[in-house]
Symmetry: D2
Subunit: 399 residues, 4 copies
């Protein structure tokens, strides 16, 4: 039984979620030292979570002699430095999303980890929600046939910390903050080996007085013909809307991770307290989630990471995945500027994927477009004459 | 109390829905004559609905001396001829969706009606669902602030009649069949006076062996900056998915018109019978709708049309609206070919609409990006320095 | 085509709903005269709905020479007098729920109508919601097998008018106001010919300073063994909760008529306006209904009544049904006092109904209690030895 | 950091769920030895979960020198013996639900544990679902005011193992199997110190050819006046229906733990695989749950138990709670026989609870029954004259 001692970098909301998870339930792992740029925030964090030490010395935190894993929960512009230090220290490094601010930055981080031979895990929690894990497994087992379309939507009224709003520090706006989740969720459903070929994206800044986009929509065309669609926003009202939809040739999946999970509460006022991340109201109809760190994927994410470290295998989400996500986001921004489909430029390691295909049924030399069962048991066929291209109805005996 | 005598053109599914509605509940109106290209279908329809006469003579049906309203429920390629005959006969004409196969055709139909001075109503039922009517009213009253985004989704496994599948007769595929609904729903929410400026559209034929698109996604940018988004498909599995979502600066609306309306049934097998339009299964978990002709908007649609005829006013949905929809669909097909945003070309009668605006709050010379209420009642402000562009957090006393 | 001229008695909320329905959409019927005990309310009502006359003379309203139908929308204690006058006038009379304050009163009303030979319709709207009508039809077609249990729940924060709160005028509290709906919904699902045999009921006055019950729960045992369960409350928070559930040997039905019907709206504040009957809030997450008079059954109810009048048939809900409901409510109050199951005393016209039965399958002389399909296709049987009463598992080849 | 070595007694479905949880994610605990009455089932279980030893010797398993905790996952009739052995061995004992077959048996188990001074935990998983934990906390914080009513429903098509069906081995039917969950869920919401005073229960055997009840409904009246209501069934169709509802003077909570949790899947057929416990179908619309062991409460339950063992405190669910549940179930069976409310006989340790009270507001000497806000901002009061008992409406200026 391997237990891990962790260096936690960062004391923001994500540091809290990570530590709550790492220390949660019957865990064998523990955060040994926490780094913050601010001594007071570091001390408060240390006390909040019962961590032995806090420090404002990044290198010392990473190099702490008793830790074997470094978790990067810092603002985006600090990821590269932190990953570099961890690689140099020969430690496993788990980096929060997005990996980099650009594909170029992400690629350098990928290289530094690969050349150092250390374990690199990409902390994309929303690919690990229990619903997503089960849904991906069902899709891989063929439950929906070939995936034709995936919609991933993440919207809320805007981030809690100042640095998120500064594109110079983050690399962009709502796409960098939220789109990275959606892209990787989509990739898990269409298949990691299904190359993202081109991207069409629209961005706008509609509500907040900022330089970067507070709303964006993108389409990603994959090699198979499947379309990934994401919608991200920092102007949504009503809480945090986290929904995924998958359409396939033989089925459909709908997932609601946050606002409608079978838990509904009306309160006339007092005693509501904390409802859920990004809830907007504390009275009226509220929609809490049960166990947030589990429902948002943190529990399964760290379990997968440690399992991979312990067994010498690869985690579900790697630094390479983080790099692909950055490459797609770069293409989103490019397309938003040019107003056209833009090719995704990336070093592709995923092989190739066949086009979605459905071999049509034939009936007396005609192509069967559709077969419907009538109330009386007979079948109604819609037929296409391959020669003329004409369509006709035909009612036939049932099977 | 004005009662209307109607000439019904067409005996397909839509003719059934229309007649069920016109004859429904305590109606004062009645279908007086029905036209079908096929004598047997006409006779069967006549008997099914207790209509005095059926005929295969289009001109005779339109010109029937006892009818004052002509309802066009024919395949798309027959709309123009029928509308022309009705205009010539000086009768009110109500035409099913889409108005034309192209904007050019729709424009000719608009002109023929306008120059004849007859009433022209566009039978866009899904803009009249009771939920939509109430939601549009709430939006107009300011319940969600400025509309920033509308998603309209209509997908099912494909149409029931052969002619729908032949783009030569219809003008296209899933966009012509379903997108016309979505576009007009979107226009009702962003405002009819909000000009559709440009369109980005992706189409593909993924499953059915046909020449036209069986899947499409489009973005429509309106003058205000609002984005309309539609998703249409003839390859959806699980029934008919009819959902609309509206996001605004101060609110959100979600509508599910079909598959999740508070009516859920599990049956181990027998006795299911007809569940709902385009239901795929007759056992397991089923999701019927209560009163389909009401829930799909037919009841309110005809009431609005007859109210407008009787009062000499305009209906909510006019031939001009139908023409705008065709113009947007033309642009969708154009964009799908060029792979870029394409301008919407149309004769615009709607005036102009201001850009979505949010005048930012200021605090001690800083721009307030976001204001959050902390559990202890204090407020956390995210502030932007207009000079440097830097962002900071500040916690202040509550209001 | 028969059109009806109606005498409307009463100008409260129910009078508004009734008149909105009677005048609604393309109706051929109209309210000709309205009676109110208050001249000002009568005048306001007349103007609100465009009714030719209002009066404070009950007999004159009922006897109005131009009306053929009398609709009783008065407080409970005035039903009997109004019905008596209508019967004397030889007019069809439609009476709102509950028919009487007690079974004895209801029985007298039934007799006066029957001996006068006039049409008597019981305006039990919630049995006519489009969902209920379709669900009852599915149940009658066998979709859920034998009905074993029906739950009908109607709760809200309490009625809008003063007289509802005075048991001397109404006959009771929440049971008289809301339980009457539930009992008749239950009867429609278990079958009108299924005799209610005995009742167990608990009542309490938990919140409001009144003499009658503001909360009640009852179980009704029917001849078949099916159990009807109702929960009524005047202390529910969050709006109006109208849900029905049906369990059968082969299926399940869940209906939500009000708070979750696929229409969800979040608003930060302004412009909400009227949301729905008994909504508690005008901001935050709201759950409007589309077309209230349709969704609550008023439209189908009056259509059924007029169809029955016009054809000389019986409506779905008769005065006899109203009498049965009163008899069950009397038993509820009796049981609440004695704390035990009490027999339902009533003149039964419904015949008899067989006990719910399931003839057990046998396997090699054993009784099959349950058959489950294993992932590998084999079947797992749980068997009971009829001699010893012992249970065993057995895995056998699939069918 | 305390890690535990566990003796697992029993290899049925519950043993699998328990072991999956104990070994789950990053757990520090492990099952060291498993006991089964059948050598082959024990061996299979051992291999399935990577447990070092299995045995058919109950005493040896309990007394295993390396374990400190005994988990009883055996059929009901074996609980007492197992608990006695564990107490004798001086080990912490965690016993699955129900504690005993009767209150008398449960009481003996309680006494043996208390007199031995060992830790006794009652494994009532459904009180530990993440939703329930958060909801109970919200209720305790006052979010819904005084609880007036709790409904807990657990129904499915019947248990998987033969012994469950034999009342001689279990103590009853659906109440013993499922009602024990509901009773304890209800107690958590109304308050553990709120004495269950009397019970009214109806049972019937409607579908299965067994001697015990396959359906039951019960009302439990607590000292505060709150009513607990449970519905249990072995004849439900459509999967496993696990829902709880809480009504309070100031709020409402609805929880759906299984069939509607924001995860919906339609599949035309292949690849569905295991959906969820007690799912009935593998095609059509399916409703899986994300992480079953988390959603059903197993994870939080064992965390609470071990936390209590480690800190010397009491778990949320104790043997005393198990005894109270058995006492209520005994009363259910008694009431089902007598057809009347029966007092709950038990040794009460919970103190006393005040009656639900709402001090009524007064207005000019009148009692305010209800206050409604009108669209124009004024308030409508329903007033009761304390002298005459008469009710009137009054519209006054808003607050």
């Amino acid at each position: 039984m391997d237990a891990h001692r962790i260096t936690m970098l960062g004391t923001g909301l994500i540091g809290d979620f990570y530590t709550m998870t790492l220390h949660g339930q019957r865990s064998r792992d523990e955060v040994r030292v926490v780094y913050s740029r601010s001594e007071s925030r570091g001390t408060a964090f240390k006390e909040r979570w019962g961590i032995p030490e806090s420090t404002t010395d990044l290198a010392a935190a990473v190099g702490h002699p008793e830790t074997d894993v470094v978790v990067v929960g810092l603002p985006n512009f600090l990821h590269e430095e932190a990953v570099g230090l961890a690689a140099k220290a020969g430690k496993a490094v788990l980096c929060t999303k997005p990996l980099g601010r650009t594909a170029e930055e992400a690629r350098r981080m990928l290289e530094v980890v690969e050349s150092a031979g250390v374990f690199g895990g990409y902390l994309e929690d929303l690919c690990y929600t229990p619903k997503s894990l089960k849904a991906v497994k069902a899709v891989q087992a063929g439950a929906v046939g070939d995936v034709t379309w995936v919609r991933s939507r993440e919207t809320h009224p805007g981030p809690h910390s100042a640095w998120f709003w500064d594109g110079r520090l983050t690399g962009g706006g709502a796409i960098i903050d939220l789109g990275c989740h959606c892209i990787e969720i989509i990739r898990n459903f269409v298949g990691k080996g299904n190359r993202p070929v081109e991207v069409m994206c629209h961005t706008d800044t509609l509500v907040h007085p900022i330089a970067d986009e507070d709303n964006a929509i993108a389409l990603i065309r994959f090699e198979s013909g499947a379309i990934g669609q994401f919608e991200v926003s920092w102007t949504f009202r009503g809480g945090m809307d986290l929904r995924d939809e998958v359409a396939g040739t033989h089925g459909t999946i709908w997932m609601n991770h946050f606002l409608r999970t079978g838990f509904e509460m009306f309160t006339a006022g007092s005693g509501g307290g904390y409802v859920a991340e990004k809830a907007e109201t504390a009275a009226g109809w509220l929609f809490p989630v049960g166990d947030e760190v589990s429902e948002l994927g943190y529990v399964d994410m760290f379990s997968d990471m440690f399992r991979a470290i312990d067994t010498g295998g690869a985690p579900m989400e790697t630094f390479y995945d983080g790099y692909v996500v950055n490459a797609v986001m770069d293409t989103c921004y490019r397309s938003a500027r040019t107003g056209r489909w833009e090719p995704v430029e990336l070093e592709w390691r995923g092989g190739s994927t066949r086009r979605i295909t459905a071999t049509p049924e034939t009936y007396e030399g005609m192509v069967v477009i559709k077969r419907e069962i009538l109330p009386d048991g007979r079948h109604k066929l819609i037929l296409k004459d391959p020669a003329s291209g004409d369509f006709t109805d035909r009612v036939v005996a049932g099977a």
